[in-house]
Amino acid sequence: MVDKTVLARQFIEAIPHARALGLKLKQIGAGEAEITMPYNEDLIGDPRTGVIHGGAVSTILDTCCGAAVMSHPSAPGGTATIDLRIDYMRAATPGQTITARASCYHITRNVAFVRATAMDDDHDRPVATASGSFTVEGK
């Protein structure tokens, strides 16, 4: 069997915007994914505090959710976001790497349902959470 996690990793790391943000796939498999994004001054949303813009946090969460869908045993191939909601709990601490973890908790022939959390070094207090639905596409 061709290792689907290898394919997913190659797919994620070939995404031009994932490269621009320095996203790294740390773990993937069975509908779960973990991706990191290093602190980068280009991504600052508030120049007075150095806090990363919420949009960059949205991007790592969206990417991580998509990766989780593709790694699900019932997903035949690609995916696209139908809808994504992000709740911002607090500002990410400047200088720290953001880690996103996503879980595809239910999948049908057509739709995958995903939840995700973004954290900085303090894993007990999430920076943001996401919940979304994604398409399930053929090979």
Binding site: A14, L43, R48, H53, T59, T81
Partner: protein, 172 residues
């Protein structure tokens, strides 16, 4: 009694454009995505200037869903800030320099943001406009629409809630 003579057009434009430039230009992430703003009076349209690094699906190709979300969120935050500050800019209370240096002028904070992806984002420029459904003293609700070639065919829409910046004198 005669009404006061209107200000010369270039004075009005210079003041408004300088304030908008100060609001947008200071944010590194807006430069990173290369988002610019067109202003007509107080109405803003944001432009996501296409670049290959915005691609999320190289096979189609299509703009990254996260970039679309970020573009809509930037549009919402800047439009909300602009409408919040516009009366004070027009009243001469604050100017472009104050926007850059005055620590009491802060951006609204996103509480939540929900994006509907209606079509894939084509590899070309995108446009967005935000509509403030309600702006209260503490919370604001904003709707955003984004399109590319045809304004009638939105490729994404979003709604979000924001915590408005509190003036230093206000409680809490």
């Amino acid at each position: 009694m005669a009404r006061p003579r209107p200000e010369p057009m270039q004075v009005v434009k210079q003041r408004r454009d300088a304030a908008l430039h100060a609001l947008v230009g200071g944010v590194p992430y807006i430069r990173f995505l290369n988002i610019s703003f067109d202003r007509r009076g107080d109405e803003l349209t944001s432009v996501l200037n296409f670049d290959d690094k915005l691609i999320g699906n190289p096979l189609l190709p299509a703009i990254h869903g996260g970039v679309t979300a970020a573009f809509l969120e930037v549009t919402a935050v800047i439009t909300l800030s602009w409408e919040h500050l516009f009366p004070r800019i027009e009243g001469g209370e604050i100017d472009a320099d104050a926007i850059v240096t005055d620590d009491s002028i802060r951006f609204p904070k996103t509480i939540d943001f929900t994006v509907d992806y209606l079509r894939s984002g084509l590899p070309r420029d995108a446009y967005a406009r935000a509509f403030i459904s309600r702006a209260g003293r503490r919370y604001a609700s904003v709707r955003v629409e984004a399109w590319q070639d045809n304004h009638a065919k939105l490729f994404a829409q979003a709604t979000g809630h924001f915590l408005m910046p509190q003036s230093p004198s206000a409680k809490g």
